[in-house]
Amino acid sequence: MRQTVLQTKELTVSFGGLKALNGLDFQLYEGEFLGLIGPNGSGKTTFFNALTGIYRPAAGSVLLHGNDITGAPPTKIYAYGITRTFQRLRLATSLSVLDNLIIGNQRNLNLGLWHNIFNRKSFKRRLQEQIQIAEELLSRFSRDLAVHLFKPVSSLSMIDRRRVEVCRALISEPKILLLDEPSAGMTPDETRALMDELQDWRAQYPTLSIILIEHEMELINKVSDRCVVLNYGEKIAEGRYSEVSNEPGVRAAYLGED
């Protein structure tokens, strides 16, 4: 029996009168690659925001390894080993690629005054470690990108920024990774390369579970072990892509029929 790492029960998020998530029951298993799909505005991003503590659920609960973490602030969620990317990129564009990656590795930074200000020798060693980690991680995803480690993110193309965003989420070696349309705007080749790299990473960290929000159905079909379909904040189907895609409810949702 696979182990459940993350679970929501009747999770509800509302904005005024609108229920962006409506009583969602959801499960994520250890090591699973889960595709989260649904038409625009169906509540996928909202689901991530509710999981990561950015939005407060109006009702329901979120369980991590069976422990209730509903309403925990984002900093706690990160501490639990859950990281994410943002659909509309949220990198610190005026900072260097390196700085952005180090931000992602907050967990492993020593924030002590002594270490940072006075003991510069030891700080320098730590910095060099971080540089090395960042460089290795980046070159996994794109050899060209690693060259730009000391460039500001604002000088990168959108595609490269998406890669940096993924790397920022990976650098702290999370247990659960939430990807919100990471391949938006990429060519099929670029997307394939990104997904291959994610699969490689999974091979290296078999307990990592991934939720991927994606509009490209082919891709979901190829990479996901299982998918969950949302519509108007409710789960309308769940299962292997090949099964789910044939359900009439899902087709209706995508074709905009009632």
Partner: protein, 304 residues
């Protein structure tokens, strides 16, 4: 304390409160359409009063009757400041739309200080307080300790009327509809075919015209104006708008009246009346800690 005193405080506070509310409505309008704070607002108010004063001095030479002078002063003062507000918006505020909000705050603060300094340096003898003509009827009624001046009543009603008219413009006219649409969501408003720039300029003109009105009212009430009067009125108007909740006209009114109430309360409580501002601002800070987005406005969560 007897009832007459309390009523007196009440009336005086109301005159103040309406003035503050007029200023606060301006702040709220600008914030509504553009999410910016135009900090020169207080100085535009002061310039409105000085424009009116200059007009009066000119008209006095022509021996125009008081009521006519007053009407001309109001019309031209309000129009001129409306124009100034639109120009300021066009050349200093809109170009900075994409930069950090701090920059807009600073550029308008600096514009305010340019207005202030210009009046001080270039208005004849501008660094001294100027007597402002008493153009309103001077009648008053006494009830015990209450001395109800007719000009107070006129000023309160004019201010209230101006706010009601502003409210009607926003709720009932086409330009008001555009303003509301832009305040709701700029993108959608543009898609609906609303001329964004024109709407914003109109809003700035409207708010700045209100500032001119409150400047002239202040002059008429105290019968004295000076080049630095806008600074404090601007800060108070800003406080009132913020405490009420930026973007809400009701909030601005509540905030304006509240500030005047706090000042009055401070003046009564402390033996040294000068503590009234210390008290009022301290309460404002505490209120902000309690209701970080103001008393009335509730802005929805930031979209992520």
């Amino acid at each position: 304390m007897d009832l007459g005193f309390i009523a007196q405080y009440f009336v005086n506070g109301l005159v103040q409160g309406i003035t503050y509310a007029l200023v606060a409505v301006g702040f709220t309008l600008f914030f509504g359409v553009l999410d910016v704070i135009k900090f020169s607002h207080g100085d535009v108010l002061m310039l409105g009063a000085f424009t009116a004063l200059a007009l009066f001095l000119g008209l006095d030479q022509l021996a125009s009757p008081a009521w006519l002078s007053l009407i001309i002063m109001l019309c031209i003062g309000i129009l001129a400041m409306g124009l100034l507000g639109a120009l300021l918006c066009k050349f200093l505020v809109l170009p900075l739309k994409e930069s950090p909000p701090l920059n807009t705050l600073l550029i308008t603060l600096m514009f305010g200080s340019v207005i202030r300094e210009s009046v001080r340096l270039f208005f004849p003898n501008g660094s001294n307080p100027k007597p402002f003509p008493a153009l309103l009827p001077e009648a008053s009624i006494n009830w015990g300790n209450l001395n109800l001046r007719l000009d107070s009543v006129i000023l309160i009603s004019t201010g209230a009327l101006a706010i009601v008219v502003t409210h009607l413009i926003i709720q009932k006219t086409r330009i008001g509809l555009a303003i509301r649409a832009v305040a709701q969501d700029e993108e959608t408003a543009r898609l609906m075919g609303i001329d964004f720039k024109k709407t914003v300029l109109a809003t700035f003109a409207l708010g700045s015209g209100l500032a001119a009105l409150s400047g002239i009212s202040t002059g008429l009430y105290y019968q004295e104006i000076n080049f630095s009067m806008g600074l404090m009125l601007g800060v108070i108007g800003f406080s009132a708008a913020v405490v009420g909740g930026l973007g809400s006209i009701y909030g601005a009114i509540v905030g304006g009246l509240l500030f005047a109430f706090l000042q009055t309360l401070g003046a009564i409580w402390f033996s040294v009346p000068a503590y009234k501002d210390v008290f009022a601002f301290a309460v404002i800070i505490i209120l902000m800690a309690w209701r970080p987005t103001g008393l009335l406005a509730d802005r929805s969560a930031e979209r992520v």
